[in-house]
Protein backbone atom coordinates (compact mmCIF):
# COMPACT_ATOMS: atom_id res chain seq x y z
CA UNK A 1 0.00 0.00 0.00
CA UNK A 2 2.91 2.31 0.71
CA UNK A 3 3.61 2.03 -3.01
CA UNK A 4 0.44 3.86 -3.92
CA UNK A 5 0.82 6.82 -1.56
CA UNK A 6 3.11 9.78 -1.88
CA UNK A 7 5.36 10.05 1.17
CA UNK A 8 6.68 13.38 2.34
CA UNK A 9 10.18 14.33 1.28
CA UNK A 10 12.75 15.23 3.91
CA UNK A 11 12.19 18.88 3.03
CA UNK A 12 8.45 18.55 3.48
CA UNK A 13 8.92 16.97 6.90
CA UNK A 14 11.33 19.73 7.80
CA UNK A 15 8.74 22.31 6.74
CA UNK A 16 6.17 20.70 9.05
CA UNK A 17 8.57 20.90 11.96
CA UNK A 18 9.42 24.49 11.13
CA UNK A 19 5.75 25.47 11.04
CA UNK A 20 5.31 24.23 14.62
CA UNK A 21 8.12 26.31 16.10
CA UNK A 22 6.59 29.62 17.18
CA UNK A 23 8.07 33.04 16.59
CA UNK A 24 10.41 33.99 19.39
CA UNK A 25 11.56 30.47 20.22
CA UNK A 26 15.03 29.25 21.07
CA UNK A 27 15.87 26.00 19.32
CA UNK A 28 18.68 23.54 18.74
CA UNK A 29 18.54 21.62 15.48
CA UNK A 30 20.52 18.40 15.70
CA UNK A 31 23.01 17.06 13.24
CA UNK A 32 21.76 15.65 9.91
CA UNK A 33 18.19 15.95 8.63
CA UNK A 34 17.03 18.35 11.38
CA UNK A 35 19.46 20.90 9.98
CA UNK A 36 17.03 21.30 7.05
CA UNK A 37 14.49 22.78 9.45
CA UNK A 38 16.50 25.99 9.54
CA UNK A 39 16.03 26.47 5.81
CA UNK A 40 12.25 26.09 6.19
CA UNK A 41 11.70 28.70 8.90
CA UNK A 42 9.20 31.22 7.51
CA UNK A 43 10.39 34.74 6.75
CA UNK A 44 9.53 37.33 9.35
CA UNK A 45 9.74 35.04 12.38
CA UNK A 46 12.66 35.10 14.76
CA UNK A 47 13.79 31.67 15.87
CA UNK A 48 17.11 31.90 17.64
CA UNK A 49 19.28 28.89 16.96
CA UNK A 50 21.68 27.38 19.45
CA UNK A 51 24.57 25.18 18.54
CA UNK A 52 26.06 23.34 21.47
CA UNK A 53 29.65 24.04 20.51
CA UNK A 54 29.15 27.54 21.84
CA UNK A 55 26.99 29.87 19.79
CA UNK A 56 23.52 31.33 20.25
CA UNK A 57 22.24 33.19 17.20
CA UNK A 58 23.60 30.86 14.55
CA UNK A 59 23.06 31.97 10.96
CA UNK A 60 23.19 30.17 7.61
CA UNK A 61 26.31 28.84 5.97
CA UNK A 62 28.68 31.51 4.74
CA UNK A 63 29.22 32.37 1.07
CA UNK A 64 31.96 30.30 -0.58
CA UNK A 65 35.37 31.66 0.34
CA UNK A 66 34.18 33.25 3.57
CA UNK A 67 34.32 30.15 5.74
CA UNK A 68 35.99 30.66 9.12
CA UNK A 69 37.59 27.64 10.77
CA UNK A 70 36.66 29.09 14.16
CA UNK A 71 32.96 29.36 13.32
CA UNK A 72 31.21 26.04 12.89
CA UNK A 73 28.14 24.21 14.15
CA UNK A 74 27.90 20.98 16.10
CA UNK A 75 27.87 19.06 12.81
CA UNK A 76 31.24 20.63 12.05
CA UNK A 77 29.85 22.61 9.12
CA UNK A 78 30.80 26.23 8.58
CA UNK A 79 28.12 28.65 9.75
CA UNK A 80 27.71 32.36 10.42
CA UNK A 81 26.67 34.39 13.46
CA UNK A 82 23.68 36.72 13.21
CA UNK A 83 23.47 40.19 14.80
CA UNK A 84 22.73 39.70 18.51
CA UNK A 85 24.67 36.43 18.67
CA UNK A 86 26.87 35.40 21.58
CA UNK A 87 29.72 32.95 22.09
CA UNK A 88 30.31 30.95 25.28
CA UNK A 89 32.24 27.93 26.51
CA UNK A 90 31.04 24.34 26.54
CA UNK A 91 29.83 24.18 30.14
CA UNK A 92 27.82 27.37 29.67
CA UNK A 93 26.51 26.09 26.35
CA UNK A 94 25.30 22.80 27.76
CA UNK A 95 23.83 24.69 30.72
CA UNK A 96 21.49 26.34 28.22
CA UNK A 97 20.36 22.93 27.12
CA UNK A 98 20.44 20.93 30.34
CA UNK A 99 18.96 23.76 32.36
CA UNK A 100 15.80 23.63 30.23
CA UNK A 101 16.25 27.01 28.58
CA UNK A 102 15.86 25.85 24.98
CA UNK A 103 12.26 25.72 23.86
CA UNK A 104 12.79 23.09 21.19
CA UNK A 105 15.31 20.63 19.99
CA UNK A 106 14.92 18.56 16.87
CA UNK A 107 16.76 15.27 16.61
CA UNK A 108 17.03 12.30 14.30
CA UNK A 109 16.41 8.80 15.63
CA UNK A 110 16.97 5.10 15.06
CA UNK A 111 13.89 4.35 17.16
CA UNK A 112 11.32 6.13 19.29
CA UNK A 113 9.09 4.20 21.68
CA UNK A 114 5.42 4.70 22.40
CA UNK A 115 6.39 6.18 25.77
CA UNK A 116 8.85 8.66 24.26
CA UNK A 117 12.08 6.76 24.80
CA UNK A 118 14.66 7.82 22.25
CA UNK A 119 17.37 5.68 20.63
CA UNK A 120 19.64 7.62 18.34
CA UNK A 121 23.25 7.15 19.38
CA UNK A 122 24.14 3.48 19.05
CA UNK A 123 22.84 0.86 16.68
CA UNK A 124 23.40 -1.81 19.28
CA UNK A 125 25.72 -3.75 16.99
CA UNK A 126 28.41 -5.42 19.08
CA UNK A 127 31.36 -4.26 17.02
CA UNK A 128 30.07 -0.72 16.52
CA UNK A 129 32.35 2.07 17.67
CA UNK A 130 30.23 4.09 20.05
CA UNK A 131 29.98 7.88 19.88
CA UNK A 132 27.42 9.88 21.80
CA UNK A 133 28.36 13.55 21.44
CA UNK A 134 25.66 15.82 22.82
CA UNK A 135 22.73 13.49 22.01
CA UNK A 136 21.97 12.49 25.58
CA UNK A 137 22.15 16.09 26.79
CA UNK A 138 19.85 17.28 24.01
CA UNK A 139 17.41 14.46 24.71
CA UNK A 140 16.83 15.58 28.29
CA UNK A 141 17.47 19.26 27.81
CA UNK A 142 14.91 21.12 25.75
CA UNK A 143 11.39 21.93 26.91
CA UNK A 144 10.08 20.08 23.83
CA UNK A 145 12.06 17.36 22.09
CA UNK A 146 10.93 16.72 18.53
CA UNK A 147 12.15 13.81 16.45
CA UNK A 148 12.30 13.94 12.68
CA UNK A 149 12.77 10.62 10.86
CA UNK A 150 11.51 8.27 8.18
CA UNK A 151 8.86 6.05 9.71
CA UNK A 152 10.42 2.92 8.19
CA UNK A 153 13.96 1.74 7.77
CA UNK A 154 15.21 1.01 4.28
CA UNK A 155 14.26 -2.62 4.96
CA UNK A 156 10.70 -1.57 5.83
CA UNK A 157 10.92 -1.99 9.60
CA UNK A 158 8.98 0.57 11.62
CA UNK A 159 11.13 2.89 13.78
CA UNK A 160 8.21 3.92 15.99
CA UNK A 161 8.03 0.98 18.38
CA UNK A 162 6.41 -0.16 21.57
CA UNK A 163 9.79 -0.64 23.18
CA UNK A 164 13.18 0.33 21.78
CA UNK A 165 15.54 -2.53 20.94
CA UNK A 166 18.48 -0.18 20.31
CA UNK A 167 20.32 1.33 23.29
CA UNK A 168 18.52 4.35 24.69
CA UNK A 169 19.62 7.96 24.46
CA UNK A 170 16.97 9.20 26.87
CA UNK A 171 13.94 7.88 28.74
CA UNK A 172 10.46 9.28 28.05
CA UNK A 173 11.90 12.44 26.56
CA UNK A 174 10.32 12.70 23.09
CA UNK A 175 7.19 14.81 22.73
CA UNK A 176 6.46 14.57 19.02
CA UNK A 177 7.69 12.55 16.03
CA UNK A 178 7.56 13.96 12.50
CA UNK A 179 7.80 11.32 9.78
CA UNK A 180 7.31 10.92 6.07
CA UNK A 181 4.02 9.10 6.76
CA UNK A 182 2.41 11.14 9.56
CA UNK A 183 3.07 13.09 12.74
CA UNK A 184 2.82 11.44 16.15
CA UNK A 185 2.34 12.99 19.58
CA UNK A 186 3.61 10.99 22.53
CA UNK A 187 1.01 11.49 25.28
CA UNK A 188 0.34 9.87 28.62
CA UNK A 189 -2.73 8.21 27.02
CA UNK A 190 -0.76 6.79 24.12
CA UNK A 191 0.56 7.73 20.68
CA UNK A 192 -1.69 10.13 18.78
CA UNK A 193 -1.30 10.02 14.99
CA UNK A 194 -2.32 12.88 12.72
CA UNK A 195 -1.43 14.69 9.50
CA UNK A 196 -1.36 11.38 7.64
CA UNK A 197 -0.25 11.76 4.01
CA UNK A 198 -3.11 11.60 1.52
CA UNK A 199 -4.10 8.02 0.76
CA UNK A 200 -2.71 6.60 4.01
CA UNK A 201 -5.52 5.31 6.21
CA UNK A 202 -5.35 5.32 9.98
CA UNK A 203 -5.71 1.54 9.97
CA UNK A 204 -2.90 1.08 7.48
CA UNK A 205 -0.65 3.29 9.61
CA UNK A 206 -1.54 1.28 12.71
CA UNK A 207 -0.63 -1.90 10.84
CA UNK A 208 2.73 -0.41 9.86
CA UNK A 209 3.44 0.54 13.47
CA UNK A 210 2.22 -2.76 14.86
CA UNK A 211 0.65 -1.26 18.00
CA UNK A 212 -2.54 0.70 18.69
CA UNK A 213 -2.55 4.40 17.86
CA UNK A 214 -4.96 7.12 18.96
CA UNK A 215 -6.81 9.51 16.67
CA UNK A 216 -6.47 13.22 17.32
CA UNK A 217 -9.54 14.40 19.22
Amino acid sequence: MSDTIQLLTRQQVAARVAADIPDGSYANLGIGAPTDVADCLPAGVTIILHTENGLLGMGPKPPAGEEDIDLMNAGKQYVTALPGASYFHHADSFAMMRGGHLDYCVLGAYQVSATGDLANWHTGAKDAIPAVGGAMDLAIGAKSVFVMMDLLTKKGVCKLVQRCSSPLTGVGCVKRVYTDHATFDITPAGVVAYDLVPGLTFEALETLCGFPLLRKS
Binding site: T51, E52, N53, G54, L55, D68, I69, D70, L71, M72, A74, K76, A81, Y87, F88, H89, H90, A91, S93, F94, M97, R98, H122, D127, I129, P130, A131, V132, G133, G134, A135, M136, D137, I140, G141, P167, L168, T169, G170, V171
Partner: protein, 225 residues
Protein backbone atom coordinates in the same frame (compact mmCIF):
# COMPACT_ATOMS: atom_id res chain seq x y z
CA UNK B 1 55.33 37.36 36.75
CA UNK B 2 55.97 36.17 33.21
CA UNK B 3 54.26 33.04 31.96
CA UNK B 4 55.39 33.42 28.35
CA UNK B 5 57.40 30.44 27.16
CA UNK B 6 59.71 31.03 24.19
CA UNK B 7 58.85 27.72 22.52
CA UNK B 8 56.41 24.84 22.56
CA UNK B 9 59.37 22.55 23.08
CA UNK B 10 60.21 24.28 26.33
CA UNK B 11 56.57 24.51 27.42
CA UNK B 12 56.12 20.75 27.07
CA UNK B 13 59.53 19.59 28.29
CA UNK B 14 58.40 18.28 31.67
CA UNK B 15 55.49 16.11 30.53
CA UNK B 16 56.22 12.60 31.77
CA UNK B 17 55.10 9.24 30.44
CA UNK B 18 51.72 8.34 31.90
CA UNK B 19 50.48 11.93 32.10
CA UNK B 20 46.82 12.79 31.71
CA UNK B 21 46.27 15.62 29.25
CA UNK B 22 43.13 17.55 28.40
CA UNK B 23 43.10 18.85 24.84
CA UNK B 24 40.67 21.57 23.82
CA UNK B 25 38.83 21.82 20.54
CA UNK B 26 35.66 20.76 18.83
CA UNK B 27 36.08 19.63 15.26
CA UNK B 28 39.13 21.59 14.13
CA UNK B 29 38.08 24.76 15.97
CA UNK B 30 40.19 25.40 19.03
CA UNK B 31 42.41 22.37 18.61
CA UNK B 32 45.99 23.30 19.57
CA UNK B 33 47.43 21.38 16.61
CA UNK B 34 50.94 22.76 16.93
CA UNK B 35 51.08 21.88 20.60
CA UNK B 36 50.03 18.32 19.81
CA UNK B 37 52.71 18.17 17.11
CA UNK B 38 55.21 19.27 19.74
CA UNK B 39 53.98 16.53 22.07
CA UNK B 40 54.46 13.97 19.33
CA UNK B 41 58.05 15.21 18.97
CA UNK B 42 58.53 15.30 22.74
CA UNK B 43 57.84 11.60 22.94
CA UNK B 44 55.76 11.13 26.12
CA UNK B 45 53.79 7.88 26.05
CA UNK B 46 51.12 5.91 27.98
CA UNK B 47 49.06 9.07 27.93
CA UNK B 48 45.45 9.51 28.98
CA UNK B 49 43.80 12.04 26.67
CA UNK B 50 40.63 13.90 27.62
CA UNK B 51 39.06 15.65 24.66
CA UNK B 52 35.78 15.84 22.81
CA UNK B 53 37.00 13.83 19.83
CA UNK B 54 39.65 11.21 19.17
CA UNK B 55 41.22 12.84 16.15
CA UNK B 56 40.71 12.42 12.46
CA UNK B 57 43.06 11.79 9.58
CA UNK B 58 46.73 12.00 10.48
CA UNK B 59 46.69 15.16 12.51
CA UNK B 60 46.21 16.21 16.11
CA UNK B 61 45.15 13.48 18.50
CA UNK B 62 45.12 11.01 15.60
CA UNK B 63 48.86 11.57 15.21
CA UNK B 64 49.41 10.65 18.87
CA UNK B 65 47.20 7.59 18.61
CA UNK B 66 48.86 6.44 15.41
CA UNK B 67 52.20 6.40 17.23
CA UNK B 68 50.65 4.39 20.06
CA UNK B 69 51.33 7.05 22.65
CA UNK B 70 47.81 6.96 24.05
CA UNK B 71 46.62 4.23 26.40
CA UNK B 72 43.21 5.71 27.23
CA UNK B 73 40.92 8.31 25.81
CA UNK B 74 38.03 10.05 27.58
CA UNK B 75 35.76 11.67 25.00
CA UNK B 76 32.22 12.05 23.71
CA UNK B 77 32.60 11.44 20.00
CA UNK B 78 35.50 9.26 18.84
CA UNK B 79 33.87 7.75 15.73
CA UNK B 80 34.14 10.02 12.73
CA UNK B 81 34.38 9.73 8.98
CA UNK B 82 38.15 9.51 9.13
CA UNK B 83 39.00 8.33 12.66
CA UNK B 84 40.97 5.32 11.39
CA UNK B 85 43.82 5.51 13.92
CA UNK B 86 41.37 5.41 16.80
CA UNK B 87 39.03 2.85 15.23
CA UNK B 88 41.75 0.25 14.66
CA UNK B 89 43.19 0.45 18.17
CA UNK B 90 39.81 0.55 19.84
CA UNK B 91 38.58 -2.53 17.98
CA UNK B 92 41.79 -4.44 18.71
CA UNK B 93 41.60 -3.53 22.39
CA UNK B 94 44.87 -1.57 22.39
CA UNK B 95 43.18 1.66 23.38
CA UNK B 96 40.73 2.06 26.25
CA UNK B 97 37.73 4.30 25.61
CA UNK B 98 35.77 6.07 28.35
CA UNK B 99 32.75 7.45 26.50
CA UNK B 100 31.17 10.45 28.24
CA UNK B 101 28.17 12.46 27.01
CA UNK B 102 29.40 15.86 25.88
CA UNK B 103 27.50 17.90 28.45
CA UNK B 104 28.60 15.61 31.26
CA UNK B 105 32.17 15.88 29.97
CA UNK B 106 32.08 19.68 30.13
CA UNK B 107 30.36 19.73 33.52
CA UNK B 108 32.64 17.06 35.05
CA UNK B 109 35.69 19.02 33.91
CA UNK B 110 34.18 22.17 35.39
CA UNK B 111 33.45 20.32 38.64
CA UNK B 112 37.14 19.48 38.97
CA UNK B 113 38.00 23.12 38.46
CA UNK B 114 35.56 24.44 41.04
CA UNK B 115 36.04 21.90 43.81
CA UNK B 116 32.71 20.08 43.54
CA UNK B 117 33.05 16.49 44.79
CA UNK B 118 30.29 15.02 42.63
CA UNK B 119 26.96 16.10 41.15
CA UNK B 120 23.64 14.67 40.10
CA UNK B 121 23.03 15.11 36.36
CA UNK B 122 19.93 14.20 34.36
CA UNK B 123 21.96 13.27 31.27
CA UNK B 124 22.28 9.56 30.45
CA UNK B 125 19.83 8.40 33.10
CA UNK B 126 18.41 5.05 32.03
CA UNK B 127 21.07 4.50 29.34
CA UNK B 128 24.07 2.22 28.91
CA UNK B 129 26.36 5.11 29.82
CA UNK B 130 24.88 5.22 33.32
CA UNK B 131 25.21 1.47 33.89
CA UNK B 132 26.43 0.76 37.39
CA UNK B 133 26.35 4.41 38.42
CA UNK B 134 24.54 5.73 41.47
CA UNK B 135 21.17 7.28 40.68
CA UNK B 136 18.68 9.30 42.66
CA UNK B 137 15.24 10.78 42.19
CA UNK B 138 15.15 14.44 43.23
CA UNK B 139 11.90 16.40 43.01
CA UNK B 140 10.42 13.82 40.66
CA UNK B 141 13.31 13.76 38.21
CA UNK B 142 15.92 11.03 37.82
CA UNK B 143 19.61 11.82 38.04
CA UNK B 144 22.95 10.03 37.77
CA UNK B 145 25.85 10.85 40.11
CA UNK B 146 28.94 11.93 38.19
CA UNK B 147 32.45 12.71 39.46
CA UNK B 148 34.96 15.39 38.47
CA UNK B 149 37.50 14.85 35.69
CA UNK B 150 40.86 16.50 36.27
CA UNK B 151 44.20 16.16 34.50
CA UNK B 152 47.90 16.78 34.91
CA UNK B 153 48.00 19.10 31.90
CA UNK B 154 45.56 21.02 29.74
CA UNK B 155 46.47 22.03 26.20
CA UNK B 156 44.30 24.84 25.01
CA UNK B 157 44.25 27.18 22.07
CA UNK B 158 43.24 30.79 22.59
CA UNK B 159 43.24 33.88 20.44
CA UNK B 160 45.18 36.36 22.56
CA UNK B 161 47.05 36.00 25.81
CA UNK B 162 49.30 38.05 28.08
CA UNK B 163 52.22 37.39 30.42
CA UNK B 164 49.85 36.93 33.38
CA UNK B 165 48.08 34.13 31.53
CA UNK B 166 44.87 36.00 30.77
CA UNK B 167 43.18 34.65 27.66
CA UNK B 168 40.49 35.54 25.16
CA UNK B 169 39.22 33.15 22.52
CA UNK B 170 37.80 33.44 19.02
CA UNK B 171 34.22 32.44 18.08
CA UNK B 172 33.36 28.75 18.51
CA UNK B 173 37.03 27.92 19.04
CA UNK B 174 36.34 28.81 22.68
CA UNK B 175 34.51 25.51 23.34
CA UNK B 176 36.29 23.40 26.00
CA UNK B 177 39.24 25.76 26.57
CA UNK B 178 37.92 27.79 29.51
CA UNK B 179 36.71 24.78 31.53
CA UNK B 180 39.78 22.66 30.82
CA UNK B 181 42.01 25.56 31.90
CA UNK B 182 40.51 25.33 35.39
CA UNK B 183 40.84 21.56 35.80
CA UNK B 184 44.49 20.76 35.16
CA UNK B 185 47.51 21.08 37.42
CA UNK B 186 49.36 22.75 34.57
CA UNK B 187 47.48 24.56 31.82
CA UNK B 188 49.45 25.50 28.74
CA UNK B 189 47.88 27.88 26.26
CA UNK B 190 48.85 28.28 22.65
CA UNK B 191 47.82 31.75 21.55
CA UNK B 192 47.80 33.33 18.12
CA UNK B 193 49.05 36.57 19.59
CA UNK B 194 50.75 37.60 22.82
CA UNK B 195 49.70 41.08 23.91
CA UNK B 196 51.06 43.36 26.62
CA UNK B 197 49.67 43.12 30.14
CA UNK B 198 46.88 45.66 30.28
CA UNK B 199 45.94 45.33 26.61
CA UNK B 200 43.11 42.88 27.29
CA UNK B 201 39.96 44.58 28.56
CA UNK B 202 39.33 43.21 32.09
CA UNK B 203 35.61 42.99 31.25
CA UNK B 204 36.25 40.61 28.36
CA UNK B 205 38.92 38.26 29.71
CA UNK B 206 37.43 34.78 29.43
CA UNK B 207 40.15 32.81 31.24
CA UNK B 208 41.73 34.77 34.10
CA UNK B 209 45.46 34.20 34.40
CA UNK B 210 45.22 32.28 37.66
CA UNK B 211 44.23 29.21 35.66
CA UNK B 212 47.14 29.32 33.21
CA UNK B 213 50.75 28.36 33.88
CA UNK B 214 52.40 28.79 30.48
CA UNK B 215 51.61 30.79 27.35
CA UNK B 216 53.25 30.17 23.99
CA UNK B 217 52.72 32.28 20.92
CA UNK B 218 52.01 30.25 17.78
CA UNK B 219 51.23 32.60 14.92
CA UNK B 220 48.13 31.60 12.99
CA UNK B 221 48.95 29.83 9.76
CA UNK B 222 46.56 29.71 6.84
CA UNK B 223 45.40 26.12 7.02
CA UNK B 224 45.02 25.91 10.76
CA UNK B 225 43.97 29.51 11.48
Amino acid sequence: MNKICPSLEEALADIPDGASIMIGGFGDAGVPFQMIDALVAQGAKDLTIISNNAGTGEEGIAALIKRDRVKKIVCSFPRQANSKAFDERYLSGKLVLDLVPQGNLAERIRAAGVGIGAFFTPTAYGTLLADGKETREIDGRNYVLEYPISADYAFIKAHRGDALGNLVYRKTARNFGPVMATAAKCTIAQVSEVVAVGDLDPETVVTPGIFVKRVVEVKADGARA
